[in-house]
């Protein structure tokens, strides 16, 4: 991704090399060794570090010791494509359902499985944050808990557990956070339908904008197409 300069005012050119963030990656890798399986630094913007599932708790301890004491959030991403769609996808763009996890497209730092945990911590001294990710194997959706190191992870893990079905052994009280007692299913998984869309198609279909690929009645010369 290119950095931001599109003719409007920018305060500075984004540096090609971000030393502070590179140093963070190096420090984490030095502490964790093999547990770090990937990283990505967006210069001047952000940094991601991907670790193994078994090294998840150690990674928390490592970044905590490195000064990242502020807990930001912990959540999960389901990389399965959104098969229920938005109903405004025209029929010329069918969504192909991947057969195995290996065919899923992941984001930055890559990945191999369907579910990934992502967490972010922040350092009050350096004023920088770092994202940590880990893959969860499809047959064993669990990860060690962070709540011993960061007490704020308590509620976040409860939410991830009920929304994605990921277990956190060692968590003191892994009960539902938002959903009522007898709820079945994991809502934020991509194969959990949004019932409103099945009852009624998306009302935004009557929007004024034309679908991409179809001729637009209004002049398209307002700006370049995004693609």
């Amino acid at each position: 991704m290119s950095s931001a300069d599109t003719g409007t005012e920018v305060t500075e050119e984004a540096p090609a090399v971000d030393e502070r963030r590179d140093a963070i990656v190096a420090a984490v890798a030095a502490r964790l060794g093999d547990a770090v399986v990937g990283s990505h630094v967006e210069p001047g913007v952000d940094v991601w570090v991907r670790v193994t599932r078994d090294g998840w708790a150690e990674a928390a301890q490592a970044v905590h010791d490195l000064g990242f004491t502020f807990f930001d959030f912990l959540s999960a991403i389901d990389w399965y494509p959104n098969i229920h769609g938005k109903n405004e996808e025209p029929p010329t763009n069918p969504i192909t359902v991947p057969a195995t996890s290996a065919e899923l497209e992941h984001g930055v730092t890559g990945g191999e499985t369907r579910f990934q945990l992502i967490a972010r911590v922040f350092s009050p001294e350096q004023k920088l944050g770092v994202h940590l990710r880990c893959d969860l194997p499809d047959d064993d959706l669990s990860a060690p808990t962070w709540s011993r190191i960061y007490p704020g992870a308590d509620w976040n893990e409860r939410e991830v557990c009920e929304m994605f079905g990921i277990d956190f052994p060692g968590h003191p009280n892994l009960v539902h956070l938002y959903l009522p007692g007898g709820f079945e299913g994991h809502p934020l998984r991509k194969d959990f339908p949004l019932l409103a869309r099945h009852v009624k198609p998306w009302p935004g279909l009557v929007d004024v904008e034309a679908m991409p690929g179809e001729p637009d009645d209004d002049a398209e010369a307002e700006g370049s197409e995004a693609e």
């Binding site: 930001d72 704020g152 197409e225």
Partner: protein, 389 residues
């Protein structure tokens, strides 16, 4: 009301999820604060186990307002998400959309023109004013001084009228667009805003003497609900709650790369070492004053120019991941946007401030009296929509 066996089983199962046993009531009383209760700002249910009037254990139960925002965002296009997300923290309307729009712009590689950045920042600060002036009056109400609330509403009207003059909406302006803003400011608005800022400063002085200077208020809030600095960091407390515990973090100052105009204003970040309820009130009062100064400075230096960058009519954000956080009135609000290059986001993780702010409640509540829980809740200042999303 006689409780049949079936109902008793249901209640027990629900309560057992919250680890408080209905059957054994021999030691202390279990009290249910909420979900309908004047002190809980909305539908928050807190189960407290009491020993006399002291709290032994405290368990917040939420989800009464869970609207499934993260799921809903996956089914909408990017501009549609901004309207949706406006309603997470309904008191700081404009400020909810800004991090999301900045994330989308970051992925697209566009930046709003400078005039739009200035106006966005001014509106952000006005959202802060509308939100925190309500807090200043409402904390008085929670403690029994109900007059303060009416003064807060009276002076907040001026801010809402300003918003209505520009956007047409008092509570949900719907003014921000990916790439800039919808419209420019009307003529004469800047002078009116400066007059209103003076009124808000007068209101702050009034609250300082009426509420903060009141001896009973100080007796009720000093030393109540002390949150030390490391606990605040570990739980992720942000905004005024963290600054009242001595944590010197303010994203407006510490995040200079963000495409907003705070770097063009000169303001002070207020912290307080105590970490009690009084400190949280004090910090927010100073922040309101500081916001009025920020708005004055920005309006003095606002540049001329366009208010919308060149973005296509149909917005398709390229593939990537971005996380943008801002210093919202309640704390830090961030959006982790994962885009796969189509019309809408693939996954949006919404990091809300009140979620972390309220998660500290079980830690803080041990040993407090029941009236103190009301004080602590009022001083932590959360919005239910922000917790439950």
């Amino acid at each position: 009301m006689t409780v049949t066996e079936h109902e008793r089983a249901f209640i027990t199962s629900t309560l057992s999820e919250s680890r408080i046993n209905l059957e054994i009531e021999s030691d202390g009383m279990t009290l249910n604060l909420g979900p309908q209760h004047p002190a809980t700002h909305g539908t928050l249910r807190i189960i407290v186990k009491l020993d006399g009037e002291q709290i032994v254990a405290c368990e917040p139960t939420m989800g009464y307002m869970h609207r499934g925002y993260e799921k809903l965002c996956e089914f909408r296009t990017f501009p549609q998400v901004t309207t949706l997300v406006n309603r997470i923290d309904w008191l700081s309307h404009f400020a909810n959309e800004v991090p999301f729009i900045l994330a989308a712009e970051q992925l697209m590689g566009v930046e709003a023109p400078p005039r739009a950045q200035y106006i966005r920042t001014v509106f952000f600060e006005m959202a802060r004013l509308g939100n925190i002036t309500l807090f200043l009056g409402e904390m008085g109400l929670q403690l029994g001084a109900m007059t303060a609330l009416f003064y807060a509403f009276r002076d907040r009207e001026h801010v809402l009228n300003l918003l209505e003059a520009v956007t047409g909406g008092r509570f949900h302006p719907n003014f921000d667009r990916i790439g800039g803003l919808k419209d420019d400011l009307p003529k004469g608005w800047i002078d009116e805003t400066k007059a209103v800022m003076k009124k808000i400063r007068g209101f702050c002085d009034q609250m300082e003497t009426l509420v903060m200077g009141n001896e009973i208020f100080q007796t009720r809030t000093r030393g109540i609900g002390v949150i030390p600095k490391d606990v605040a960091l570990g739980y992720g407390l942000s905004g005024a709650n963290a600054r009242a515990s001595g944590v010197d973090l303010d994203l407006r100052r510490d995040n200079p790369d963000i495409a907003m105009a705070w770097k063009h204003a000169d303001f002070k970040v207020w912290t307080h070492p105590d970490g009690d309820s009084f400190a949280r009130y004090w910090v927010r009062l100073q922040e309101v004053r500081e916001s009025t100064h920020i708005i004055d400075q920005l309006l003095d230096g606002i540049p001329a120019g366009p208010i919308m960058a060149k973005v296509p009519r149909i917005i398709k954000v390229p593939a990537g991941e971005a996380y943008v956080q801002t210093e919202n009135p309640l704390g830090w609000m961030g959006y982790y946007v994962v885009s796969k290059g189509d019309l809408g986001p693939f996954r949006v993780k919404i990091r809300t401030a009140s979620f972390n702010n309220v998660s500290v409640l079980p830690w803080v509540a041990k040993g407090l009296y029941v009236p103190d829980i009301v004080t602590v809740l009022a001083s932590l200042y959360f919005i239910l929509g922000d917790i439950d999303r």
